[in-house]
Symmetry: C2
Subunit: 369 residues, 2 copies
């Protein structure tokens, strides 16, 4: 019986927990130390670009650093629990840890929408500054503790693309009745300007777009979009991803199991998150630039790159600001986190306007970009 | 005899090495494992903002992760060896490791000018992508190996400020005869447009600027500049720091000592560099935004913020492009690294133009920044 066929039979969290106790920890290592065989489930495919390799590398690094004392087995979405079941499985203690993107839990924990990606919000570097130089991570850990979880930021996709459209967007009226696959806060923004939001899991997006069941879809950026084949199903590729300017990943632990770990292993796991932060964003950037070239070269330049017209951006922004506030008003933790987010955002924007943005403007002025 | 008075007597690398053997490694830990008592010297002050605390935290983290097996003592510039003597001390094996900024070694290793900060070059996020998603770190390690060193990127100051000027810069002619403290490639650029470059160590900058011995100086950004008191000595604060758009720090090891380490400790040191990468830039951003507000509020708004005029930027860019090529031509490693740098830079700029830059443009369009 291979692992997969065994695992598909394990569906409930309690059954998983029972299975876990039987097969794993704590055992004895050859060094007479308790050995920790932990399981990480993530929300992505078994060969998901960047993620699959980064998580494998992280687990390998832990094995090296601990001489096998901390042994983490990685399970892709659907292998142990459904892709979007990882939050509950870890909350309930059926699994020790997960890797995902926190906005997937918006329905359970509204504040997660502000720890993942905020329409017209902060960039990856700004979000990292909020988490690791400001109060962002502390606040995240506070509201996750109420769910029995411990969390660290663990990578970022970078500013995403605005999506693939079968027809050009010339004015905000082109969103009226537009059937677009776009989840989360971005979906609420598109709905607010008249779009018809469709929710589809990854594998169903390409056929729906190709057959015209949907008129548009967002996904991630050149790397991920190429693998989904979206360039074969639509002609117009829009930027920027106003709806996801910084999609942060999370490395999250069951809090009780986290506390049961010796301090030295906790510290290594924290460093695993640093590893994912550095290499995750770096890999996304390095691979996106490669796949951008592939998309540009596709069928001799068939794909039309566009930026959203200014009037469209203004309407989307107005809708986004209203929706962000509504989400914050829906829950005390969401309000607390969003108020802190906005305070840091305004400060870091003032600073980046005179360094990062002024520098990009200078590059444009001199003709370097 | 306190450590400092002892250390000031230890001047030569060989004397240091002898002292090291006597006082440090390898000893026995309580776990009957070889204990590594290593010494890290850095090029900054004992209370240098961001750096001092980050390095202390890194060493503490190692003690936790290894239960004291890896014990790194931190020495500020001048405590064990002069601030700019750390490269030679580690190269010669007198010390195990250092933390610095690689352009300080431009005179010995021209290629280091491209691994630290390049006028009109890549931003922090782009440089991180080159090091950790592209071939940047591999190339750096290759040419450092020739000096018996092993290196990892370990933080970034972010895009720096353009400097403090006693008089407004209205045209490129204002650089003619301008006495400016600006080292490195930036200094060569300023000299090329007619400036008189003055080299001064940190503590001498404020009095020289205040008394008018120099007309202008660059330093780092709001946090560091405030601590040096530069706002009390000049009125015009320029951005952007075209000369240092991404100043990368380095965590560097004596290669033989690196190889002598067990694999698990090597891996932890690599993770220490990830820690510095994530928290270093985050702390710089978070603190710069705070100190920017202090500078704005100073004497009710006395400081005048300016961006360099477009014509000035164009002249500085022309000079920089020429100088970068000359440096590359001066040494085969420098040429190899700069060619790789340029290739990655052009690719990542094309990509960031449609995500990062397009997003900042969108924020401006909608009035968010």
């Amino acid at each position: 019986m291979d692992r997969r066929s065994f695992l598909t039979k394990v569906t409930s969290a309690s059954a998983l927990a029972a299975a876990a106790v039987a097969v794993s920890y704590p055992g004895k290592s050859t060094h007479a130390q308790v050995k920790f065989r932990w399981r990480l489930a993530h929300s992505f495919g078994p060969t998901a670009p960047v993620y699959a390799e980064a998580l494998k590398n992280m687990a390998d690094n832990f094995r090296v650093m601990t001489k096998g004392r901390l042994d983490i087995k990685i399970f892709a979405g659907g292998e142990l629990v459904p892709a979007f079941g990882v939050f509950d499985a870890v909350k309930q203690g059926a699994l020790e840890m997960f890797f995902s993107a926190s906005y997937y839990w918006a329905g359970k924990v509204p504040a997660t929408q502000f720890t993942c990606s905020v329409p017209f919000g902060m960039t990856p570097q700004q979000v990292s500054a909020w988490f690791y130089g400001g109060d962002g991570l502390k606040l995240w850990q506070e509201f996750y503790a109420k769910h029995g979880l411990m969390v660290f930021q663990a990578g970022n996709t970078g500013v995403q693309m605005g999506g693939w459209f079968r027809k050009e967007i010339k004015s905000i009226d082109d969103f009226k009745g537009l059937k677009m696959r776009i989840p989360g806060l971005g979906g609420k923004v598109v709905a607010a300007v008249g779009g018809v939001v469709v929710l589809l899991p990854g594998p169903e997006i390409f056929p729906a777009l190709e057959r015209g069941v949907i008129d548009a879809t967002e996904w991630v950026g050149p790397l991920y979009d190429w693998h989904l084949g979206l360039h074969q199903a639509a002609t117009y590729y829009y930027s920027p991803g106003y709806h996801e300017p910084s999609t942060a990943n999370e490395l999250t632990f069951n809090l009780k199991k986290w506390k049961s770990l010796p301090k030295e292993l906790q510290e290594m796991l924290v460093h695993g998150a640093y590893f994912l932060n550095v290499t995750g964003l770096a890999e996304f950037d390095a691979k996106n630039l490669e796949y951008l070239e592939k998309i540009k070269a596709y069928k001799g330049g068939k794909i039309q790159f566009r930026t959203f017209p200014n009037d469209v951006l203004k309407e989307l922004y107005k809708a986004a600001e209203k929706i962000n506030e509504e989400v914050a008003d829906s829950d005390p933790d969401a309000r607390k986190v969003y108020d802190a987010y906005k305070k840091f955002r305004d400060g870091v924007r003032t600073w980046h306007n005179i360094n990062e943005v002024a520098y990009q403007n200078a590059l444009k002025t001199v003709g370097a970009i």
